[in-house]
Amino acid sequence: MGWLRFLLLVLVARPLALFLTGADVTGRERLPLKGPAIVAANHSSHVDTLLLLAIFPSRAVARVRPVAAADYFLRDPVIGWFSRHVIGIVPVARLKAGVGEDVLAPARAALAAGDIVVVFPEGTRGDGDDLGQLKGGVARLAQAFPEAPVTPVWIQGAGRVLPKGEAIPAPLNCAVLVGEPLGWDGDRPAFMARLRAALLALKDQAPPLRWS
């Protein structure tokens, strides 16, 4: 099945991302090429996932696995099959968070297998204008894999291409800004503060969104 995913990502996802967003990437050389590695991006649209799968070089793309909500992406068998085998999601049961279940276990397994795990620390799609509250799961993953770099990525404009609740995407340019990887420093709140600051610093460099 791996070859099917690879072909679909390279021959379908990439041209589609290019058509819909122009995939204007700054700092592509800072993307991790081998795992274990964590990529942390803001989230405003399904286009975020498409873009992040499209901008990795071919030799790394088979390793890229977006963390996604099990309650949403595994809700029916067809979407579930597509999510697992084409998008390659790492399912997280976000509804079971905080009830004693280890919801991050699949993400840790992926990192242990040497995958590049893409997380959206906001935990859900926002309105595309501001960075929402960040959830601490990414810090726990970084703590479990201190050797894995955490690369912050700001995606500007995906929320305009396909906002939450819309079905038809409208082609508009998106800027993807890749920041310097952060290392684990032993303190979760401090790590989350650094990640937030890094994402906001990337946002400041992005072209303006005249969208009101």
Binding site: G22, G157, A170, N173, P207, R210, W211
Partner: protein, 324 residues
């Protein structure tokens, strides 16, 4: 053997002057590349990466456009549709647009498809009125149906400005490919388009080079602080001479018609450049995207073409072509 014969037949079917013209561009780029390599070797302390990137991008653009021109009108119309699409996408991404306007954005792309459809179907009269009259009226009507009246007039104007510059005006370059053989063109319809692209880009480069070498007096300090009178006049003179001497080789222009094109086209190129600079300044960006390494976005490269293409088309129609 068969492949070699097919390739030979393909080139043999092309107007010889067009091939010579394209070979000239390739030679020019090779010289530019050699100079960039030499500069990098002679002055290792200076950073010539952007210059080399610029030249590499020129190779890609020349290969794409030359390939399309040699393949004929279908490929050329397709490539220009793609250029228009990328330019319009850049424009709509940067311009202030209201959240309610998503359907209008989709309608603008549909207008692009329809306009290029009229070029493909060779419907000149439909093309002429479709964007300036029918889209001009239809898109604001759609926006009215969407119900948001805040900033209505500004947004309607934004859409129209984008569609006319990025689609309607650039489309004229593609429409030249539909000039029939009865117009007796010295280098075929592709020669007309080649010459438009050659002189427009030559004018851009010449203005830049003269500005760098001699530039002192700023010509539009609040809009485009790097533009100078020396660059403008030097580019005007150099491009005017190029048009005057090379025009009869690639186009049916002669005499008064040629003189008018030689004087007006470099002015239009300058006007397009400065006007798009004003738009970019208003929006607050330097480049419209990074689609073309070393150059910026498609609109940064095609800004002068949005002015020169319709002017060139109409002057050709007025002085030389029976079809339009």
């Amino acid at each position: 053997m068969d492949i070699a014969a097919t390739v030979r037949a393909f080139f043999a079917a092309q107007p010889p002057v067009l091939l010579i013209g394209l070979a000239g561009v390739v030679a020019l780029l090779s010289v530019a590349g050699a100079i960039a390599t030499l500069l990098t070797a002679l002055k290792p302390d200076k950073d010539y990466r952007e210059l080399r990137q610029r030249i590499a991008s020129w190779w890609v653009m020349v290969a794409l456009l030359a390939g399309a021109l040699l393949l004929g009108w279908r490929a050329t119309v397709l490539v220009f549709a793609l250029i228009s699409f990328m330019a319009l996408r850049e424009f709509l991404s940067l311009a202030p647009i209201r959240k309610e306007d998503r359907p209008a954005i989709l309608a603008a792309y549909l207008a692009l498809v329809a306009a290029y459809g009229f070029i493909a179907a060779d419907k000149y009269m439909f093309y002429l009125v479709f964007i300036p009259v029918w889209t001009f009226l239809g898109l604001p009507f759609l926006m009215a149906l969407l119900g948001q009246t805040r900033g209505f007039l500004t947004t309607a104007a934004t859409f129209h400005w984008g569609l006319v510059t990025c689609v309607y005006n650039l489309g004229f370059a593609a429409f030249l490919m539909r000039t029939p053989d009865t117009d007796r063109l010295p280098a075929g319809p592709a020669g007309l388009v080649f010459f438009l692209l050659l002189v427009t880009e030559f004018n851009d480069v010449a203005q830049y080079v003269f500005g760098k070498l001699l530039g002192r007096r700023k010509i539009a300090p609040t809009v485009s602080p790097n533009k100078t009178w020396e660059g403008f006049l030097g580019g005007w003179l150099a491009t005017g001479l190029l048009i005057w001497f090379a025009g009869p080789v690639f186009t049916p222009l002669a005499g008064h018609g040629l003189l008018v094109v030689a004087i007006a086209l470099p002015l239009a190129g300058f006007a397009g450049d400065v006007t798009m600079s004003a738009v970019k300044r208003d929006i607050g960006v330097k480049d419209t995207s990074h689609a073309i390494p070393g150059h910026g976005g498609v609109l940064d490269r095609a800004d002068s073409l949005t002015f020169t293409a319709p002017l060139y088309f109409h002057l050709l129609a007025l002085f030389a072509l029976d079809r339009f």
